[in-house]
C-alpha cells in the first residue's frame, strides 16, 4: 500500500523532469541483452587479445610471448599467400554481384506479370543452406560427370577443371558466391530505385532525353548510395566467406583457394595453435573493419562530389 502510494507521488513529482528520467529508465529493457552480448561477444574478444600474446597449444601449456605471434605473421609465407587469395576472391566476389545485382534491380523495377513470385524465386539462393548448395555445386563442377562441362560443350567450349585446378579454383568459387549473393545486392538497390521520385524523369522527358540518358544522368547517380551500401555489405561478407570454400575445396587443391578465414580455421582447429590463431583472428578482424571504414569513406566522398556537381 505504502509503496504504491510512494511510487505514485514519485511519478507525479518526476513528471516535470520527464525528459531526463526518460533516457535512464529504459535500462532494464536493455540489460539482459547487454549481459548476453557481454558474455558471447565482448568476453571472447578480450580473451582473444589475451591469448594472442601467448604461445598456447590445446592440450599443452601456455606462456607469455608478447607480440611474437604477430611478428610471426610477417614471415609466414602461407599467411601471405592466403592474403593474396583473399584479396583476389573478395574483389571478384564484390564486383560481379554488384554489377549483376544492379542490372537485376533495374529489371525487377519494371512492371511485369508474376514479378513478386519471380522475385521470391530469385532470392532463394541466398536463403538456402550454404553447405547444401555447396555440395551440389561440387557435383556440378566435376570434370567428367558434372553438368557444367556438358553445358560448355553445347556452346563449343572445351571442358574445364573448375575447382580442381589452382588457376581456375578461385574464379569457380566466385561463380558460386555470385550466384548466391547477387540477390542481396538486387534487393538493396531495388529499395533505392523505389525511393527515387518521378519528377526528374518527367522534366527530362519534356526536355527530350532518351532512356539511356535518363538512366545515366538520373537513375545511376540517385541509386549510387544504395549501390555503395550493397558493396560495403558484400565486401564484409565476401572477405569472411567460409562455408562455400570449405565445403567445396577445403582451401585446395593444395592451398590454392585458402583464404585467411580458412587458414585461421586450420591454425586454430587443425593444428590447435590457439595463440597464433588468435593473432590471425585479430589481424583479420582489423582488416574487415578497415575495409568497411574505407568503403564508408568512399561512399561519403562520392556523395559529396555528386552534390558538388549538382550545385
Amino acid at each position: 500500500m505504502t509503496s504504491l502510494a510512494l511510487e505514485k507521488s514519485e511519478r507525479a513529482a518526476a513528471r516535470p523532469a520527464r525528459g531526463r528520467r526518460h533516457t535512464r529508465s529504459y535500462w532494464p529493457f536493455v540489460l539482459p541483452a547487454l549481459v548476453v552480448v557481454g558474455s558471447v561477444i565482448v568476453f571472447p574478444w578480450a580473451f582473444t587479445i589475451w591469448m594472442s600474446l601467448h604461445e598456447w597449444q590445446i592440450g599443452g601449456g601456455s606462456s607469455f610471448v608478447g607480440l611474437a605471434n604477430f611478428a610471426r605473421l610477417g614471415t609466414d609465407l602461407r599467411f601471405h599467400e592466403a592474403l593474396v587469395h583473399t584479396i583476389y576472391f573478395t574483389s571478384l566476389a564484390v564486383v560481379l554481384p554488384v554489377v549483376l545485382g544492379l542490372f537485376s534491380a533495374i529489371v525487377f523495377h519494371q512492371n511485369f506479370k508474376g514479378r513478386g513470385f519471380l522475385r521470391g524465386l530469385f532470392v532463394m539462393p541466398m536463403m538456402a543452406t550454404p553447405v547444401a548448395i555447396a555440395l551440389v555445386w561440387a557435383m556440378m563442377f566435376h570434370p567428367q560427370l558434372g553438368v557444367l562441362n556438358y553445358l560448355l560443350s553445347l556452346v563449343g567450349i572445351p571442358p574445364q577443371l573448375w575447382v580442381f585446378h589452382p588457376s581456375t579454383v578461385i574464379p569457380s568459387l566466385v561463380l558460386v558466391e555470385t550466384w548466391q549473393w547477387t540477390p542481396l545486392v538486387m534487393l538493396i538497390v531495388l529499395g533505392g530505385l523505389a525511393a527515387i521520385p518521378t519528377e526528374p524523369y518527367e522534366s527530362a522527358l519534356i526536355d527530350g532525353a532518351t532512356g539511356w540518358q535518363m538512366f545515366w544522368h538520373i537513375t545511376l547517380p540517385l541509386v549510387m548510395p544504395f549501390v555503395m551500401v550493397a558493396a560495403i555489405i558484400r565486401s564484409i561478407d565476401a572477405i569472411k566467406s567460409f562455408d562455400i570454400i570449405y565445403a567445396i575445396t577445403q582451401g585446395g587443391p593444395g592451398t590454392a583457394s585458402e583464404t585467411i578465414n580458412l587458414y585461421l580455421y586450420s591454425v586454430a582447429f587443425a593444428y590447435y595453435d590457439i595463440g597464433y590463431g588468435s593473432a590471425i583472428a585479430l589481424v583479420f578482424f582489423l582488416m574487415v573493419v578497415g575495409l568497411a571504414v574505407l568503403l564508408l569513406w568512399l561512399k561519403k566522398r562520392s556523395q559529396w562530389t555528386e552534390m558538388g556537381a549538382g550545385a
Partner: protein
C-alpha cells in the same frame, strides 16, 4: 510505336529469364540429382528426368545416418537460440529505440563484421573448461551470436517507426514502463517480431562453421551431418543430393511462404548471420 513496345516487352522478358534461370535451374538440377540412381547420375550426356525415380535415395537418408537425431538437434539449437534471442533482443531493441541510444547499436554492427571463427576459439576453450562439450548447450549459446544481433537490429528499426502517442497515453493512465511495453508496444510490433524471428531462424539453421567445431557425433546439426555424408559414402551423388535437399527444404519453403517479410527484413537491416 506498338512494334517498339512489343520489342521492349520481349527484351524485358529475355532479361527476366536470364536473371531468374540460374537460381531455378540449380534447384531443378538438385532435385534431379536426388531422384536418380547412380547409373543415371553418371550418364553422359546428363539426364534431367530419369525413367525410374530413385526414391530410395530419400528413404536411405531418412532411415540411416541418425537423420532424426540430427533433425531434432537442428530444431533444438535453432529454436532455443531464436527464443532466447527474442527474449533478450526484443526488449533491448525497444529500450535502445526509446532511449535514442541507436549509437550503441554499433556493437551490433561490430558483431556483424566479426568473423565467426574469432568467437569460436575463446568459446571453444571456455566450453571445454566448463565440461559442456558433448551437449547441445555450446551450440545454443554460440548461436546467440547470430540471433541476438539480427533481432536487436531489426527491432530497433521497427520500434523507431511505431507511434509514441499510444505509449504516452498509457503512461498518463498510470501504466508503468513494463506494462506499456507488454500491452502497447509489443502488440504493435508483432510484424517486426515476425521478420526478426524468420531471419533469425533461417541464419541459425544454415550455420555450419560453429557446428563443425563444437558438435560431436551425437550433437551434430543437419548442415554438419550432410557435410559428413561426403566422407562416408564415396561419390554416391543421389543420397547426398537428397540429404542436401532435405536440409535446406525447410528454409526454402519458409522463403517462399514468407517472401514479403524476408525481403522487408533484409532491405531494412541488410543482415546476414555468421
Amino acid at each position: 510505336m506498338t512494334a517498339s513496345r512489343i520489342l521492349n516487352r520481349i527484351g524485358l522478358w529475355f532479361a527476366v529469364v536470364m536473371i531468374v534461370s540460374p537460381g531455378i535451374l540449380f534447384f531443378v538440377w538438385m532435385l534431379s540429382l536426388s531422384l536418380k540412381h547412380e547409373i543415371d547420375n553418371a550418364a553422359y550426356p546428363p539426364i534431367l528426368i530419369p525413367e525410374q525415380f530413385a526414391w530410395s535415395n530419400y528413404t536411405a537418408v531418412l532411415e540411416s545416418n541418425r537423420f532424426g537425431t540430427y533433425f531434432l538437434n537442428s530444431i533444438l539449437v535453432t529454436g532455443s537460440a531464436t527464443l532466447l534471442g527474442l527474449l533478450v533482443g526484443v526488449p533491448a531493441g525497444y529500450g535502445m529505440a526509446r532511449m535514442k541510444a541507436t549509437k550503441s547499436a554499433v556493437v551490433v554492427l561490430i558483431a556483424r563484421m566479426t568473423p565467426g571463427l574469432s568467437y569460436l576459439i575463446p568459446l571453444f576453450l571456455l566450453f571445454q573448461w566448463l565440461g559442456l562439450m558433448g551437449t547441445l548447450l555450446p551450440q545454443i549459446i554460440i548461436h546467440l551470436v547470430i540471433t541476438v544481433p539480427i533481432i536487436i537490429w531489426i527491432m530497433i528499426g521497427y520500434f523507431e517507426t511505431t507511434p509514441l502517442e499510444l505509449e504516452e497515453a498509457a503512461t498518463i493512465d498510470g501504466a508503468d514502463r513494463w506494462q506499456v511495453f507488454r500491452h502497447v508496444a509489443l502488440p504493435i510490433a508483432r510484424p517486426g517480431i515476425t521478420v526478426a524471428l524468420i531471419l533469425s531462424v533461417i541464419f541459425s539453421w544454415n550455420n555450419f562453421v560453429f557446428g563443425i567445431v563444437l558438435a560431436g557425433r551425437e550433437t551434430r546439426t543437419l548442415p554438419v551431418a550432410v557435410y559428413n555424408m561426403i566422407s562416408f559414402e564415396q561419390l554416391s551423388w543421389g543420397p547426398l543430393a537428397a540429404g542436401a535437399l532435405l536440409v535446406t527444404l525447410p528454409v526454402l519453403l519458409l522463403t517462399i511462404l514468407a517472401q514479403r517479410q524476408i525481403v522487408a527484413g533484409l532491405t531494412a537491416g541488410a543482415v546476414k548471420g555468421g
